[in-house]
């Protein structure tokens, strides 16, 4: 499977499937082990407040969005991302923070920010769509 395939273990996409039998459970365990293989690598030369993280199988999609979310944090001095080579699906993210926080905390906060943002977008989008569909039905 391509590297950026996302997991399905926690949040089920769209409508939840019906409760499954035992074999489904085994299968989900398999999915989890598949996921464990990929992890964030901290590149050499990192300190508490300045670190480069390597994400395998990510590109501009998460890179730029995450960079934005992390830069929105006032405790972050610098954040940038790069894809060192186009034929390797790896994304490097550099974070330098002030003494008030650490690079890892800033990264975690950035991911939280993005997740919160997604909830708001889903919420507002659904409301707007339902409103639009209702108004279309009337006319």
């Amino acid at each position: 499977m391509p590297s950026s395939v996302h997991s399905q273990d926690n949040d089920q996409s769209m409508v939840d499937a019906q409760p499954q039998h035992q074999e489904q459970v085994e299968q989900e365990e398999e999915d989890v082990t598949e996921l464990e293989e990929k992890r964030i690598v901290v590149l050499p030369g990192a300190s508490e407040t300045a670190a480069s993280f390597q994400f395998e199988g990510e590109g501009h999609t998460l890179g730029n969005a995450l960079r934005y979310a992390i830069m929105k944090n006032p405790d972050v001095e610098f954040c940038g991302y790069t894809i060192p080579h186009p034929s390797e699906s790896k994304m490097n993210l550099r974070i330098q923070t002030y003494d008030t926080t650490t690079a890892v905390e800033a990264l975690e906060k950035g991911l939280d920010t993005l997740m919160d943002l997604c909830d708001v977008v889903t919420d507002k989008f659904t409301t707007a769509r339902d409103g639009f569909n209702a108004s279309q039905m009337e006319s």
Binding site: M1, V15, E58, V104, E108, K124, F125
Partner: protein, 373 residues
């Protein structure tokens, strides 16, 4: 010290990407802490929730158009990229050719079959799981074929002469049976629990039944078994759920100084229909702006609907409009256009992309906690 609050004009200026005759300027977003001295641009969910708006323009199965307002380009672009490359769909991945005596070669036929979009009950598609392909080093590492990761389709057609055709018939479709093989000839063979999920209208079937797959002549035969898997557009374009997914920024036209009379008509012609409207100069205008003096009753150009503008910059080429007009785009107003191939509704695809981004973040967050242990 309380953070500085920039003036309304300043905020408007920052919100616009300037489009000049030869260049584009004021491109990057600057709403980051530390960029503007004394101003706070720290992330605030409440602020985002207050500022973010969605407006729908069109919502059909195969095409949806809507505006996302109050978002950064990096986020909007992430959604667009995810819709195209990371929302999973079902497509034919393996083709087992038992017999193919048609003129179309096996590999070409297989390629054509792969690109046919298939639909099925959404519930069933979500129940389906990834099929893990075996690696070259370890042929046993792949997942086993099962009802939850593989859909079996068959295509068995043989072309024969039509005994009822009239003697001088020229159309091969009437002269022979099965002269043209269409996507609708592909038969779904449900296995295991697929029989519950993909029944009736929810059965796995081509979105467009009239896609021409191959042409045959009497005596030629195609016997093929196909395996569909779930995949993503990043792996192969056949898995992409959209024909296109794109956005553009909302155009902005500012008329700085009055454009009156013949000039106004010419100005309106520089834009698509309906973007610029012509209105008579009123006495009120004359009093407010000296340029309108003694032009009462003539027509002036006003911006009526910038949404449809193509931002062609035609108006910037004419001497008479120099310094009278300013073109730009709103940095945070994204007009999305999503065209589904039919497996999912276009609006559902956008919601899926948001979900995928959230899942991605959640997954990396878990990876991060592993890193800390």
């Amino acid at each position: 010290m309380a953070p500085l609050v920039p003036s309304h004009e300043e905020l408007e200026r920052r919100r616009i990407v300037d489009i000049n005759a030869e260049t584009v300027s004021n491109i990057p977003s600057t709403d980051f802490p530390g960029h503007w001295p004394g101003e706070s641009h720290a992330w605030s969910l409440e602020k985002f929730r207050d500022g973010f708006r969605v407006e729908f323009h069109q919502n059909k199965q195969f095409e949806a158009s809507f505006s996302l307002i109050g978002l950064d380009a990096s986020i909007a672009n992430a959604f667009r990229r995810i819709v195209m490359a990371e929302v999973p769909t079902l497509a034919i991945e393996t083709v087992y050719v038992h017999n193919n005596t048609s003129v179309i070669q096996d590999e070409v036929l297989a390629q054509r079959l792969g690109l046919i979009p298939f639909k099925g009950s959404v519930e069933g598609l979500n129940w389906m799981r990834w099929y893990k392909k075996p690696t070259d080093d370890d042929p046993d590492s792949g997942s086993n074929l099962s009802d939850f990761n593989t859909v079996v389709l068959r295509l068995d057609v043989e072309c024969t002469k039509n005994p009822n055709a009239s003697r001088d018939e020229q159309d091969p479709r009437k002269l022979y049976k099965n002269a043209h093989v269409y996507a609708k000839d592909i038969v779904f063979h449900p296995v295991g629990r697929q029989e519950q999920f993909f029944t009736g209208d929810g059965a796995i079937q081509p979105v467009n039944p009239d896609i021409l797959v191959a042409k045959l002549r009497p005596g030629q035969k195609i016997e093929i078994e196909m395996h569909c898997l779930k995949g993503i557009g990043a792996d192969h374009a056949k898995f992409s759920p959209v024909a296109t997914a794109s956005y553009r920024l909302m155009p902005e036209i500012k008329i700085l100084r009055p454009i009156i009379g013949e000039d106004a008509k010419k100005f309106a012609k520089c834009f698509p229909k309906g973007v610029i409207a012509l209105e008579p100069v009123t006495a009120e205008d004359e009093r407010q702006h000296s340029d309108y003096q003694s032009h009462s009753g003539e027509l002036k150009a006003v911006v009526s609907d910038p949404f449809n503008d193509t931002v062609s910059r035609e108006c910037l080429r004419h001497e008479e409009f120099q310094g009278k007009v300013k073109l730009g785009r709103l940095r945070d107003h994204f007009i999305f256009n999503i065209e589904s191939t039919g497996q999912f509704d276009s609006d559902v695809l956008f919601l899926e992309s948001v979900k995928v981004l959230k899942l991605k973040c959640g997954r990396w967050k878990r990876g991060l906690t592993d890193l800390m242990r």
